[in-house]
Symmetry: C2
């Protein structure tokens, strides 16, 4: 970790932060303070935001122009290698994505499609020929491409894609085909107008054998924008947001491409026309290929977090300027942020922004380690994927809620596009769906936590199941990170008398978060065991546990988030900053406990009396943090000059 002293100032050249704001920002920037500060300082902010009145076509043009401008300024392909001999730089990729998320989110997403998804597929799934042939043009925006995974009939179900790749030995070609309307590739950025190639996902058939999902590069239109022979492109037109991203559809009618267009890092076709792969198990191969694409989810989580911070920055700053209704002793009207209801709607969201930000730093660290060439096991990769899925789901959900709350907290002004919040909301909405539907992702997390035990249980007797369940819960919550050890030490102390701790006792928070996760996971395991044992409709039996699985996954991510916050607190050496951060952490932790306080009472983790006190404690923390509201939003890292909200400008 870079020490605080050698970091560049966390302020942009034109910012005048409060001292506390600057220090909070340095804490939240964390180990990537150097890179983030540099990105903030160098980001070309003149054309930051698109005119909301631009229509679909104009928006698409504006976004492509902006991408070229950013690319010229070094904010384009950052992190994606521009050829076979460069290396991927995951840290720059994530920081660039985050920085772009301070501007028009269509630019962020189109950049993500071009460099992260399309470029990422070529980089991660292709081999040297692909890298040499395509990466220079991709990174220089001479070749725009779509990432053609999703099909109309298969949004979340990648394993059952219908598109087929049939190897034709007579011509040494691969025939790409969409056998049904449901096989139509859909919602693809760059597909409607700008893309001339697509990284298409489909089932590879060699000599009559299906080898599962692979990826083939397919030219989709010529330089004049005409559909390639056999390809039918479609345009989704107007959307709920991200108007500057040209989402479209692709259908293939027996389109032939040379064999070498198959991205063959994990599975390919040898010169003799036989299938070859370094990974024998097709299931493992599938998940290995998908696993390389984890960076997309890390980026979407990061971008969601930034979107929320922007909206909260606008709403909190507005709340510090706007007065409404005179009151005794306040003839000029009460500042919005002095109303308890207003504090309560915004400050817990600010606290959660910090918490998710620390967790995002931790996640980014794992990505950098693994994709930056660090030594790691398959287990590490799997842990990265689960955390990325979980944090993406939680942060994009949070972003949607926070942005809407910010909108309403600004009243009628919040609804005017010139104040920017509605634009952010329209754009961030779909973050809850793309790169994995949130419900499906949380289910994935829960299944990951259960691990292979569901299979193992079948062979065990009652005592064996008990043991296996205990072991599984231990493993799922037991990864021995330093954050985990710190948290456990505090929790163990609180465990001796939970009800006699104060409500802001960090150990008690840690204990509650851990108990929530452990108990919910253990009971889920027991219910799954019972469901799979019975003779009835097995789908229906597991289906009924859907809500329970969502709860387990959320409890898991919440615990990881708290631990990341605690580790950041532990590393903070400045007492004043730490004092404020401790309250922010308590506000986050208590808000999470408060949200689930019914569960804690139902499971005898909190008495009814203690539960009643939590709401008042949250109010008290809001009052304590109210004087620091400005430094707190400064710390969120959004330069005021980038907000461009008319209500903040007079």
């Amino acid at each position: 970790m870079t020490s605080t002293d050698t970091r560049p100032s966390s302020q942009t050249p034109s910012e005048r932060l409060t001292s506390l704001g600057s220090r909070l920002r340095a804490q939240l920037d964390g180990p990537y303070g150097h890179e983030r500060a540099a990105a903030r300082a160098e980001f070309p902010a003149e054309n930051l935001l698109r005119d909301p009145e631009l229509g679909v076509e104009e928006s698409r043009d504006w976004v492509l122009d902006r991408l070229r401008e950013l690319e010229a300024a070094g904010f384009g392909s950052a992190g994606v290698p521009d050829g076979a001999n460069s290396v991927s730089d995951p840290l720059t990729a994530v920081v660039t994505f985050e920085t772009l998320a301070h501007g028009d989110l269509s630019v962020t997403i189109k950049s993500g499609v071009q460099f992260g998804l399309f470029g990422g597929a070529v980089m991660n799934l292709g081999t040297e020929w692909h890298h040499e042939t395509y990466l220079p043009d991709i990174t220089a925006l001479r070749l725009l491409g779509a990432f053609a995974m999703t099909e109309l009939g298969h949004g979340s179900d990648v394993q059952h894609l219908e598109t087929t790749f049939t190897y034709l030995p007579e011509t040494d070609e691969i025939e790409v085909h969409s056998p049904t309307p449901g096989a139509t590739k859909a919602y693809l950025g760059n597909a409607a107008t700008h893309g001339t190639m697509a990284a298409v996902f489909g089932q590879l058939q060699v000599d009559g054998v299906n080898h599962g999902v692979h990826t083939v590069l397919v030219p989709i239109r010529d330089d004049e924008g005409r559909d390639a022979p056999g390809v039918t492109t479609g345009d989704h037109g107007h959307k709920g947001g991200l108007l500057g991203v040209d989402n479209g559809t692709l259908r293939f009618d027996h389109v032939r491409v040379p064999r070498r267009m198959l991205l063959n890092r994990y599975g390919g076709i040898a010169d003799d026309g036989t299938y070859e792969s370094s990974i024998e198990n097709p299931n493992r191969r599938f998940f290995t290929m998908l696993g390389t694409l984890v960076r997309g989810r890390v980026c979407i989580a990061a971008g969601s977090g930034i979107a929320a911070r922007r909206a909260l920055s606008i709403a909190v700053r507005h709340g510090l300027r706007r007065r409404q209704f005179p009151a005794p002793g306040r003839p000029e009207g009460v500042l919005l942020l002095d109303y308890q209801t207003h504090q309560r709607r915004l400050l817990p969201l600010v606290a959660r922004s910090y918490a998710l930000g620390f967790a995002q730093n931790e996640l980014t660290g794992r990505l950098i380690h693994i994709q930056g060439g660090g030594e790691h096991t398959e287990e590490d990769q799997r842990e990265l994927e689960l955390r990325a899925a979980g944090l993406k789901a939680m942060t994009s959900r949070f972003a949607n809620d926070a942005v809407q709350e910010a909108r309403e907290a600004c009243g009628g002004a919040g609804y005017m596009s010139e104040n920017r919040i509605v634009g952010i909301r329209e754009d961030v909405d779909v973050f809850a769906t793309f790169e994995g539907d949130n419900t499906v992702l949380l289910q994935l997390v829960a299944k990951g936590m259960l691990g292979g035990y569901a299979e193992e249980w079948k062979a065990l007797d009652r005592a064996g199941v008990m043991q296996a369940t205990t072991r599984m819960v231990g493993e799922a919550v037991g990864e021995r990170t330093s954050a985990r050890l710190l948290s456990q030490r505090l929790a163990d102390t609180a465990r001796r008398g939970p009800e006699s701790t104060t409500l802001v006792d960090r150990g008690w928070h840690a204990l509650m978060f851990e108990e929530r996760e452990k108990h919910a996971l253990g009971s889920l395991a027991r219910r799954i065991r019972a469901a799979t044992k019975g003779g009835g409709d097995r789908f229906e039996a597991i289906n009924r546990l859907g809500g329970h699985m969502q709860f387990v996954a959320r409890a898991h991510v919440e615990r990881l988030v708290l631990e990341a916050f605690m580790e950041a607190l532990d590393a903070c050496e400045d007492p004043e900053t730490r004092d404020v951060m401790e309250r922010v952490c308590s506000l986050y932790a208590l808000s999470s406990i408060h949200e689930d306080r019914a569960w804690f009472m139902e499971h005898q983790r909190i008495s009814t009396g203690r539960s009643k006190a939590i709401g008042d404690q949250i109010d008290a923390l809001c009052r304590e943090l109210r004087p620091h509201a400005l430094p707190l939003v400064e710390g969120l890292g959004v330069p005021a000059e980038w907000l461009r909200a008319a209500i903040l400008e007079d």
Copy 2:
């Protein structure tokens, strides 16, 4: 109430409803089945929805054209009298507003601005000359007008508007002036381009005395669209939705209008230049004037409900077509609505749609009675206002949540404008803010429930306060409607052993809803008493009760909603329909109790064991209602052909 037999079919000519769907719709249409069915049958649905690609200017033009088309078809000014000798028809006004809400919501809102607000001000606050002079042109759309109440500095605080009306006896004129930038009238529909007049709210000064807020008609631009002398109009431009409504600003620089332009029904200036009013108390006069405008809130609540029903209709119908992931016994994939998580996210919202719909019928009934010339007391008017404020806040909150849930439940398809949900969401967002910010409205409801007691307490000793509090709680929840009596009878039975009732026992639901409201109101009263007794900062002491007041108001509205549902059940004579409705009611009631189950445990109303069982009971109700999903959305009253969602059309 019209008997079922004489009602026109609840289906539009081209609908083919299931039998159950048709019967459910008749129930939800309720006492206004005749009018609603007629409106559905006659509504010109060809140009129902605006092309989402239209820009701001094109949208405004389209909406004005559509308004003229509707007016010609009898769906324009319906309910607003077209002259001094016609009478206002509140039922037609509400049903027309509801019907319009099935189409482009900009049309609905612009219609509401023109006829409901601008026309309503002239009708309710003006006298014969105003009616004769302006209503014919207003209803025929020859005179378009703005309702200029809100000021930039005073969104929710009408009593402290800064705009001044100074009577000038020498010329017998009124001078309209905006003394500060904060006095600028803002967010006004019809102000940006189409309006040529405004009903302006401001402080009336006669002979140096301020007589409080009054309304003056002020010409704002000429027929060529040029600002009138002294008037500066502004344009809010692009917004988060409702692009077809031309919201703008107005500033007045010593603009003079003849005295007769003052809408003088409740307060005016006599020929001798003195102020005269039939209502002596300025406070009472102010609230009487505002009270006549209650129809706006009733309509916004109704429109919010329709918006939610449209989005839920799309999402549920999609969930009955879309399959995802194969499962044992379901090789072709599982229908989305067969997933428990999917049922749980949509069906409780459908149930709540019904519940709010029955409450809306009840509210509409009160409006019709009072504004249709029925005998009523001041207390009746006050009750109407409180219910309108509460239901507007609850239904617009619900609409925002439900539409967003519907969007996400449709995945990527939900984000495409062609599937209509995002357009509804963008438009309905501001329903949470206009016609009264929801937070402010719920505070109003809570204050109304406390009545005059806060003042009375000061003079009482401890025992007196106890008695007064008991009396107040009794009065607030005690209005002796037939619904109330029915509910109390059932609750009294359940009270003998609440924990031994089943979770679907209606008496237990009624008891819980009543206990929540009574206990929360009583404890709020005690806390207010304590807060006002102390010597400290009185604002701050009351301010800390902000969250508690919101809870009390919500609990109150929830109880009224449940009672309206129970009354509808009581009136339903068809056993099969009633059986389904009973489950829908249980799903609504249990969802509400589940949401607040922490409160119920904290206040010893529900044991932890019973609380745990509620979630499972909700799941079970979802499963029981799942086979009726199609009839349930048919019952919501949105003809399938009006949904116009591409995903439902192939």
